[in-house]
């Protein structure tokens, strides 16, 4: 279980090294697109299942275009599902106003809102995964710098992300060692939790100090980077921060967002109904 999660941390980012149309898009375009899509998705009314369905085209077209394995994305979607499914099922139980009848079945508004919630979850999760699986993490954090997110915070996000693998494997080996010494018990007992995580904490602190010493030895100095006005120097990346979005991509972005808005206003499927 833990081993799986350790591997899965970087599984999506490993896909971001590919060379497709989507991967080559400017990071800003992809970010704006993801946010626009999530906002449009979420803005639909909770009974508006028909308005929502055309949005399925977004992941259906982009996933194969970016040559992403749908299997991994779907398995990740299942992780995100439970909480929303719970709320959706609650809706289905509480709201029993009949909406339409199909033969002998009476479909209630609650069932409709349950399906809507699950569909929304699916669309939002796909939008996030499409972003992260086509964009290297370092490029995303550079966008954050450009948006004037404090350097300390961006640096922190980068470093936590990189430490995750190291520390997860450390926690994993500790838990394997624990399990080997406690046969026939599931997981870690409550009374050992403190020393287990505490040990992990102290190891982490020591590691952090060593890493910082190593960084300083190699000439790392955050203030210097900032004084030169070159904020990207902080993140050890050489690319210039001021690059224009290509005109073609900009036009494409505007068109796609216009389509989103049109789908939002006119809801082609409800005209059918």
């Amino acid at each position: 279980m833990i081993a799986n999660r350790v591997h899965s941390i970087y599984a999506l980012e490993n896909l971001s090294g590919k060379d497709t149309v989507i991967h080559e898009l400017d990071t800003r375009v992809k970010l704006i697109l993801a946010f626009a899509f999530v906002i449009v998705t979420v803005s639909f009314n909770r009974y508006d299942i028909l308005g929502l369905i055309p949005l399925v085209f977004y992941p259906a077209i982009l996933i194969p275009l970016a040559e992403l394995p749908a299997k991994i994305l779907m398995s990740r979607f299942l992780i995100a599902l439970p909480f929303c499914a719970f709320a959706g099922i609650t809706n289905a139980i509480l709201d029993r106003t009949p909406a339409l009848t199909l033969g002998n079945f009476v479909v209630t508004l609650g069932v409709i809102s349950c399906i809507t919630i699950i569909l929304k979850t699916f669309l939002c999760v796909m939008a996030v995964f499409l972003l992260i699986a086509t964009t290297p993490f370092a490029r995303l954090t550079r966008e954050l710098l450009r948006l004037h997110v404090p350097t300390v915070f961006v640096l922190l996000i980068e470093m936590i992300y990189r430490y995750l693998g190291v520390l997860s494997s450390e926690a994993m080996s500790m838990s394997v060692a624990y399990k080997l010494r406690s046969v026939s018990s599931k997981g870690i007992k409550m009374k050992h939790m403190g020393s287990f995580v505490g040990q992990l904490a102290i190891r982490s602190f020591d590691r952090g100090e060593r890493v910082y010493a190593a960084m300083t030895c190699r000439g790392y100095n955050q203030d210097q980077g900032q004084k030169r006005g070159d904020r990207s120097a902080v993140l050890f990346s050489g690319k210039n921060l001021r690059v224009r979005i290509p005109v073609g991509q900009l036009i494409g972005l505007v068109i796609v967002i216009a389509i989103f808005i049109l789908l939002r206003i006119f809801e082609p499927l409800s005209m059918l109904g």
Binding site: I39, V42, S43, F44, R46, Y47, D48, I53, P54, F57, A60, P64, L65, F77, I79, A80, F83, A87, D95, T97, A99, L100, L109, S113, I117, T121, C124, V128, L131, I132, P150, F153, L156, I157, M159, I160, Y163, L164, L167, S168, E170, A171, G187, I188, M193, G194, F196, V197, G198, L200, A201, I202, S204, F205, E209, V211, Y212, Q222, L272, G273
Partner: protein, 368 residues
């Protein structure tokens, strides 16, 4: 406690984004001050990653047969100080959102507020710090007392840490869970009435809070026994190296003054949130007038007068980013068999389009 995109409205998401961004910006500005040395960043990063890793370890909750994991807000604040703790937790939440879809992209602001701002900037300075460091037992018994081995002193310090972490964690989780309830209800997507939502959420999080509080206490006591300076440095960064036995840094005027500011900031933002949430809630629920109209005429809104009005209100209804709470009499129930067929066809068409692109790409790859 991670909230998902599907359960919030854009209005709530955006306002919580603003509040959390402000909290993160303030914290980042605090960290930049020279007295909070930048050597702390790697430390913050490893502790953040540590909480992330610790969350992966499920422990068995006695008697229920189910499992849980720690949240870590109070833990991070106690190890790093409130501002650094918030930054680390916010970074963890961002990574979880992007890589695991744990919490949505639009809900990120809500999640940072519920799980980061509340424990780090509210529960830690108000509850944890006041209980654990009220007089001087912990600070006085740090480096010097610890090495000389005043068993009684350190025992009372451990007791204080335990009480402080249990109460702080429970309180933080209760307020956080209440935040989830308010934000979800204000978004108007979950059907559960506010009262039953509260009845459902609060006891569950009380149970989680007790467990997490005990675990947090155990971890902090372990760290305190091994490295007492970590906890005291986090609470009193200005006295990092100069802890004189018997002195009372906790009540010195400068720290007292400092510790008021985060409280004020948090109170102000909490007020703002409540105001926004309540106003949205009020506007989403059919108000008194509409309700009485509904009683009289049997429908919540009077019939529109004239075509232009109905056209305009139709457009306005579609454009509004706050999904209307009471839409049952609206177009949503106009779903019919034709609609279902259309929906199914759209699904099929989208799938076919995707498959075509996939096959086309594969063909080109084999040709190349």
């Amino acid at each position: 406690m991670h909230m998902a995109d599907a359960l919030i409205s854009p209005a709530i998401g955006a306002s919580m984004y603003a509040v959390s961004a402000a909290a993160v910006a303030v914290s980042a500005a605090k960290i930049k001050k020279p007295d909070l040395s930048e050597s702390k960043i790697p430390l913050m990063a490893v502790s953040g990653a540590m909480v992330f890793a610790a969350q992966m370890i499920n422990f068995t909750i006695p008697a229920t047969g189910s499992s849980g994991h720690i949240g870590g807000g109070i833990l991070l604040a106690a190890m790093l100080g409130p501002y650094a703790g918030l930054l680390a937790l916010a970074a963890v939440l961002i990574i979880q959102c992007l890589c695991f879809a744990d919490g949505g992209l639009l809900a990120l602001g809500c999640n940072i507020f519920n799980m980061g701002v509340i424990p780090c900037l509210l529960a830690y300075p108000l509850v944890f710090k006041t209980i654990a460091f009220r007089k001087n037992p912990v600070t006085a018994s740090t480096v010097s007392e610890h090495s000389t081995g005043s068993a009684k002193q350190s025992k009372s310090a451990h007791f204080r840490i335990t009480i402080a972490s249990v109460i702080a964690v429970i309180l933080a989780l209760q307020i956080g869970a209440f935040g989830v309830v308010l934000e979800t209800s204000a978004s108007g997507i979950a059907e559960l009435p506010l009262s039953s939502f509260i009845i459902l959420m609060q006891p569950i999080h009380l149970a989680i809070g007790v467990v997490e509080g005990i675990v947090t206490a155990a971890i902090l006591n372990f760290i305190y026994a091994a490295r007492p300076e970590i906890l005291t440095n986090a609470a009193f960064p200005h006295h990092s190296n100069a802890v004189i036995p018997g002195s009372d840094p906790g009540s010195s005027p400068s720290t007292q003054k400092k510790s008021m500011r985060p409280i004020l900031i948090v109170l102000a933002s909490a007020t703002l949130i409540t105001a926004i949430a309540l106003s949205l809630l009020a506007s989403a629920n059919p108000d008194g007038l509409e309700w009485s109209i509904g009683k009289i005429t049997g429908q919540t809104e009077l019939d529109a007068e004239g075509r232009v009005f109905s056209l305009l209100s139709g457009i306005q209804e579609r454009l509004s980013f706050m999904p209307d709470y009471d839409f049952k009499s609206g177009s949503g129930s106009g779903t019919s068999v034709a609609g279902i067929v259309g929906g199914a066809l759209t699904f099929a068409l989208a799938g076919a389009a995707g498959l075509c692109i996939h096959l086309f790409k594969r063909k080109r790859r084999t040709e190349a």
